[in-house]
Amino acid sequence: MATARTVTKPVKKAPAKKAPARPAAVKKATPLDAKIPRGPIADKWDNYKADMKLINPNNKRKFKVIVVGSGLAGASAAASLAELGYDVDVFTFHDSPRRAHSIAAQGGINAAKNYRGDGDSVHRLFYDTVKGGDFRSREANVYRLAQTSVNIIDQMVAQGVPFAREYGGQLDTRSFGGSQLQRTFYARGQTGQQLLLGAYQQLSRQIGLGTVKLWNRSELVDVVTIDGRCAGIVTRDLVTGAFQSHAAHATILATGGYGNLFFLSTNAMNCNVTAGWRAHQKGAYFANPCYTQIHPTCIPQADDTQSKLTLMSESLRNDGRVWVPLSEGDNRPSAQIPEGERDYYLERMYPSFGNLAPRDIASRAAKRAVDSGRGVGPLRNGVYLDFSQAIARLGHDVVKERYGNLFEMYQRITGENPYDVPMRMYPASHYTMGGLWVDYELMTTIPGLYAAGEVNFSDHGANRLGASALMQGLADGYFVLPQTIGNYLAPMLNKPTPGVDHPEFRTAEQAAQQRFQGYLNIGGSRSPDWFHRELGKIIWNDCGMERNKAGLQRAISDLLALYEEFKTDLRVTGDGVSINQTLEKAGRVDDFFQLGMLTCRDALERRESCGGHFRTEYQDAEGEAQRDDANFAHVAAWENTGDPMKPALHKEELDFETIHLAQRSYK
């Protein structure tokens, strides 16, 4: 990056990186080239497109592109690539592409349309996202995200996404955490569903036209590299158990996040890290795994058999007020606690953002309220989200119009009616900002292997703002990848590429087969779910909302011990030649173990607090996260060295040319 800095205060001394002795094996930092285009930030994407190589439409069909995953990023990328003329194969482990977990996003999607005339702009969305990410994201990527946000809304409306409308027929917007503008577009409480179905329908159109081949109930079990390039993947057919190789010129992983590392999370049951982790095993760097997002408003755990937690949209914080009793152990019903004895702690601590403080801050505040003995509900493990004043102010009907389906969902799960009693909420694992390291083109460190959507690390820094995940998935899939992939493929035109008969494919197939047979052969006494639950407890307790050195070291050794047990005491019943969900789960839990250790190591290594990564050793007098920009304004990208205990750390220094690094304040 050669452009002049506009930052006045030198915040980062580049060579002053003489860190104290590190527990992890730190390879001499190889500079990671993010391939940021030339020019001022507002021109970079245009400059990239002006400079990139093009492929003649008639030649595009000579290129096979594999897309793994059919969520917002995967479906939109596959549909757009097929429209351009590429030969596309899509893989999903679900029965249908429409099941992908993007579907569960509730609240909305941000875009810098400024339809409200409230002062929004591309720059402001860019700034809010970088600040929301606690200044740990790559400026150029985030700027492009803000630029394309505008096109996303146009695209999705053209596809028939039934966004909420004003009476005049114009699009409606609302506010969301971490922003003081109303830039969030929504479709009731099912924005993710409607956007995903939009992308799924575009994908279906291509499948119907025969330009995309769909492989359903088919799970990636390995990534194959030949001569340093990604040559394709190996999959396992979940119905027959058969392993199969697939060769392609380029492969896109759009396989989502790893929030299920915590076992209990708002992620769907089948969300897993396997695709990303297998790519990591084959040489793709894994960046910032410790940046995990704990969402503040989820329904608290009710009992020990619970399999997952349910998110209640952040949009509820627009009108709901968060509080706990002022005094410890106050077990009166909420209605009997007078106003003066309630602590509306978010409004008290963050008067300018109030209940719309960003997720990491709201989550920590909730944890502290519960830890202080002021938790509510039968297990005293929640805080109130109270709509009584909103109902009094707006009327029952308006509240129902805005949040009706969320209220119904809450009632179905808890048996309580939120129109009468306040909701109870507690934070839960929800999203992972970390993921495969990618450059500006969304290519991983393996040439020809791309990562899009939540599986990459790119745009959210250390904390993601609400309504930004949908934006990123669609930006990556509709507007970024269809451009950048051509730049990689163009020079490969008419050159031979390895097919599935290459020995590397055979080797990978056999290794995968042995791995899965291995799970069946152990014959121990504990199910994969049991291990997953125990693994999740370790991560939640020691690498959750608050972390510290001793806890993280303990977590690593506990994980190692439990992983040894997993390898010798796992029990998988059934066979390997028909649907066997226990076997599928075993493979996923295996990868979670390895990721868990890397996550704790990354958290240990990052000796600062930022966004979702909060080290208790690094906080200011008011308990807010204390960043260390001099030493940690970088992306931590981990390389697999073959020894899981000694991954190698590479750093990508983050240059803030446009934005002034500042303490994040929402007070």
Binding site: S96, A158, Q170, S307
Partner: protein, 257 residues
């Protein structure tokens, strides 16, 4: 929080499409009433694995009623006894101690059983592929606010678009018809101004594709009662109206065919 005791589960086990299949009985001694129905099955599966037996295969994913992956006929009712609720959001508080609960897969010719409680619903995807979209290639979209959509229209389209594609409508229908599913998508797109260009072609293509796989609608209305999203059969009337209109139109003027 309290517990339910002594539940008997009669669960359909079938080792593959070719297997005849049979009911097998299982016992749950005690389960929290806060547990969801699928968590109760998780507990049972853990117990089975502990005994060295194969777990019962069933589909589920988001467990918050939106992905449409879960299914199950519970005591003969698609998604169980609670109306407007997918199986994953059904909780054990809907049952009582001592109950015998019969659990089956969706039963429909168009949804062949893959294993145990899992069926193949890909016929739904084929219907969408035949026309359940608006052709709008990436990149060429006009400014979003250029075309106003009256709120009432957007709301009606959204009511239809809420369909989660779970297949309960087909499972509940004595004819195994998919008219509610198909009508929901036809209506969602045909109501919107953006969907007008392909309106008449869409409804014909989708209805014809639907007829390739599914039975015919005779207005039982079971689909609406079973739908976890309460999608109205009024949409079937709308689809039929559009289909009839499309057939009367000169096909050369229709956008497709």
């Amino acid at each position: 929080m309290s517990h339910l005791e002594n539940l008997t589960l009669k669960i359909w086990r079938q080792n593959g499409p070719a297997d005849a299949g049979r009911f097998q009985s299982y016992r749950i001694d005690s389960i929290s009433d806060e547990a969801s129905f699928l968590e109760m099955l998780d507990v049972l599966n853990e117990k089975l694995i502990g005994e060295g037996l194969e777990a019962i295969a069933f589909d589920s994913d988001c467990r918050e009623g939106i992905c449409g992956m879960c299914s199950l006929m519970i005591d003969g009712l698609a998604h169980g006894p609670q109306s407007g609720t997918a199986t994953c959001q059904l909780h054990m508080r809907s049952f009582k101690s001592g109950d015998t609960i019969v659990i089956e897969p969706w039963r429909a010719t168009a949804f062949p059983i893959v294993k145990d409680l899992i069926v193949d619903r890909s016929a739904f995807d084929r219907i969408i592929e035949s026309g359940g979209f608006i052709t709008a290639a990436t990149g060429g979209a006009p400014e979003a606010n250029l075309t106003p959509v009256p709120k009432a229209v957007a709301d009606a389209a959204m009511d239809a678009a809420e369909c989660i594609g779970c297949g309960a409508c087909v499972a509940a229908c004595p004819n195994g018809a998919a008219n509610l599913f198909t009508a929901a998508k036809v209506s969602h797109l045909n109501l919107l101004p953006q969907g007008q260009a392909e309106r008449w072609g869409r409804v014909q293509a989708m209805v014809e594709s639907m007829d390739d796989y599914f039975g015919s609608c005779t207005n039982y209305g079971e689909c609406e009662a079973a739908c976890p999203k309460n999608i109205s059969i009024d949409f079937i009337a709308l689809m039929n109206k559009d289909f009839r209109k499309a057939k009367f139109k000169d096909r050369k003027l229709a956008s497709q065919k």
